[in-house]
């Protein structure tokens, strides 16, 4: 009996501890949500609370009406979908071949891919600028798509190859015996089995493009070519200037799709990633 009570007190403290930790870790987000929903942001007044006292959606309205956020969204989507199609379209057959076939040069290429995977594309920004600018591709969507595709092609190849390695080869051999052509095998058998990794890789590519700001800011100069990330970057409040409530509303708007995707795919996320990248 005594031990039971002691345990309960311990659990009570533990629960209190976790409630506090969760709250602390959510403060930056809660604060932004609260500011974005609060009508009179007399921010300098010291009686701030996390629950808005005067509720309003005006800041969200301002984000959609006053700022060209729909334009930024469509820019981001065009970039994301193009990158996705190219990276996966080229990546799936390559990942399959590297997982299944043994051929001359395979190991060397895979080792190179690991090294490239460690290379942050930020470091070759000057070179990329220098290469793209004579072709007139700076300040165009195609230029950014090229940059993003490079980074994501390496990721897609490596990540999906790792997952294909975990699919038993015997299934395909069986289909081959039954007279299926290589193309049929890939489309009918491999693709359905690889659906989790294709989904996760696709999501990672989308999230990458959605969140990438440094190339978007440096390579795109006009505000009508901004992506969501670049647009949000331009909206941020400075030390003394800027509209903090509108910025926080825009931040929430930009984050919600990513949050939904993340929590919807959370289970796949860990398996699709760990079985891919880590195992090699």
């Amino acid at each position: 009996m005594k031990r039971q009570a002691g345990n309960n007190i311990k659990l009570l403290f533990l629960n209190m501890f976790f409630v506090i930790v969760c709250f602390i870790s959510m403060i930056p987000i809660l604060y932004a949500v609260s500011v974005s929903l609060n009508k009179n942001n007399s921010l300098l007044s010291s009686n701030f609370s996390f629950i808005p006292k005067a509720f309003t959606l005006a800041n969200y309205r301002a984000v959609f009406v006053d700022e060209p956020i729909m334009l930024w969204l469509s820019n981001s989507l065009i970039l994301a979908v193009s990158t996705l199609v190219i990276a996966l379209g080229t990546g799936i057959p390559a990942a399959y071949v590297f997982s299944r076939k043994r051929f001359a040069g395979r190991n060397l290429i895979l080792k190179t891919i690991i090294l490239l995977y460690a290379f942050p594309s930020l470091l070759s920004m000057t070179a990329l600028y220098k290469i793209l600018s004579p072709m007139g591709l700076i300040n165009t969507r195609i230029g950014l798509i090229i940059v993003y595709t490079g980074t994501e092609a390496v990721f897609a190849l490596w990540n999906m190859k790792g997952y294909f390695d975990t699919i038993p080869k015997e299934i395909e051999e069986a289909a081959m015996i039954d007279g299926a052509s290589p193309l049929q095998i890939v489309v009918r058998i491999v693709m359905p089995l690889a659906r989790p990794t294709i989904a996760v890789t696709a999501m990672m590519v989308l999230i990458y493009v959605w969140n990438e700001y440094i190339f978007a800011v440096n390579f795109m100069t006009g505000s009508n070519t901004y992506t969501l990330a670049a647009g949000l970057y331009s909206l941020q409040a400075g030390e003394m200037s800027g509209n903090w409530p509108i910025f926080s509303a825009a931040s929430i708007v930009v984050s919600v799709p990513i949050l939904i995707v993340f929590f919807a795919l959370q289970k796949n996320m860990t398996t699709g990633l760990t079985s891919g990248g880590v195992k090699g």
């Binding site: 010291s46 190179t112 490239l116 460690a118 999230i207 400075g238």
Partner: protein, 327 residues
């Protein structure tokens, strides 16, 4: 899915093996050659893309690093050999060496805090009888789910800003003067570390939590029977058991921490909004040399040095991994 595999396997196993044997007897050397050709045909689009967009720019960066390309010599640059590398490595005042030291300190500090805090959180999450653990886990994962740059900007304005920031609002409530958190080096370093921890902890905690759950509980029971306390259990059972499981993730995190750019750049060095502090990791250093002071040749040399370090580190960790597999 597993049962699906098994069914197909049992149906075809016998047929497969004898058919393959038959096939193999017909096939000579040509097969290997045509297989290689086919493999390259299938992977050609991907490999071409990677060569053109990733490898070529790296080689071009290596080339730029041996020239004096800068804002005055954008097109009419000349070849200067290894001068930029010498400048980076031998002239301490140029700041590369101090940025490198700073990066190592930053990585070590971040990793130590991450591992310790994630370990504590994960072990507390696994206390028996904690019913709401999944709720806590979901809430604690939130920082991971948010887009990184958005979180950093929210921290910058919502927490650290001298006017809107929560910290200063609380200070003024206490009747204290507002502090410019990001303007001095030490406090900026601490602020950046906190944000980085906030961003990275959820991943580490998830990995550790998974590792904890894979430990066989009977180990603890017999240890308790032998009279082991919490410390002995942790040192002799928990840590050795989770080490191989979290190893790869820890290495990945060391990489990302070493390469961290966003936190420090967005908090302290945005163009036109520099916070006054002067902390540099090698990544922000390379970026600044290229896009703020426009010294492209020098910046490319720094980039190549960073790349070489990453290559060395990758090969080192891969070798370690292979050794372990051999054992």
């Amino acid at each position: 899915m597993d049962t699906y595999f098994k069914e197909i396997n049992t149906d075809n196993n016998e047929n497969t093996s004898c058919m393959i044997n038959k096939k193999n007897s017909h096939i000579g050397k040509n097969k290997a050659g045509s297989e290689t050709l086919k493999a390259y045909l299938w992977s050609a689009p991907s490999l071409t893309l990677i060569c053109l967009i990733v490898i070529f720019p790296i080689l071009y960066t290596a080339y730029i690093s041996m020239t004096n390309m800068n804002v005055y010599h954008w097109t009419n640059f000349t070849f200067v050999g290894l001068k930029n590398y010498m400048d980076a490595l031998l002239v301490f005042d140029n700041g590369f060496i101090s940025a490198l030291i700073m990066t190592v300190v930053w990585t070590v500090v971040s990793m130590v805090f991450q591992l310790v805090i994630a370990f504590i959180l994960a072990s507390l999450l696994n206390v028996k009888g904690l019913r709401l653990r999944n709720v806590y886990k979901t809430l604690l994962i939130f920082p991971w789910a948010m887009p990184g740059y958005v979180s950093i900007l929210l921290w910058k304005t919502g927490i650290y800003n001298s006017q809107f920031g929560l910290l200063n609002q609380w200070l003024s409530k206490l009747g204290l003067e507002p502090v410019r958190w990001l303007s001095s080096n030490l406090s900026a370093f601490i602020c950046c570390t906190i944000v980085n921890l906030w961003l990275a902890l959820p991943f580490m905690m998830t990995i550790m939590d998974g590792a904890f759950q894979s430990i066989d509980k009977s180990f603890y029971e017999s240890a308790v029977l032998d009279g082991a306390g919490w410390i002995q259990k942790t040192v002799y059972i928990t840590i050795p058991m989770i080490k191989p499981i979290i190893g790869p993730s820890v290495i990945i995190t060391i990489f990302t921490t070493f390469k961290q750019f966003d936190v420090i750049y967005l908090l302290t060095q945005q163009v036109g909004a520099r916070s006054g502090s002067d902390i540099h990791t090698i990544m922000t250093y390379a970026y600044e040399k290229a896009f703020v002071t426009n010294n492209y040749g020098y910046s490319s040399a720094v980039s190549m040095l960073i790349f070489l370090m990453l290559v060395a580190f990758t090969m080192f960790t891969n070798k370690m991994g292979q050794k372990k597999e051999d054992l």
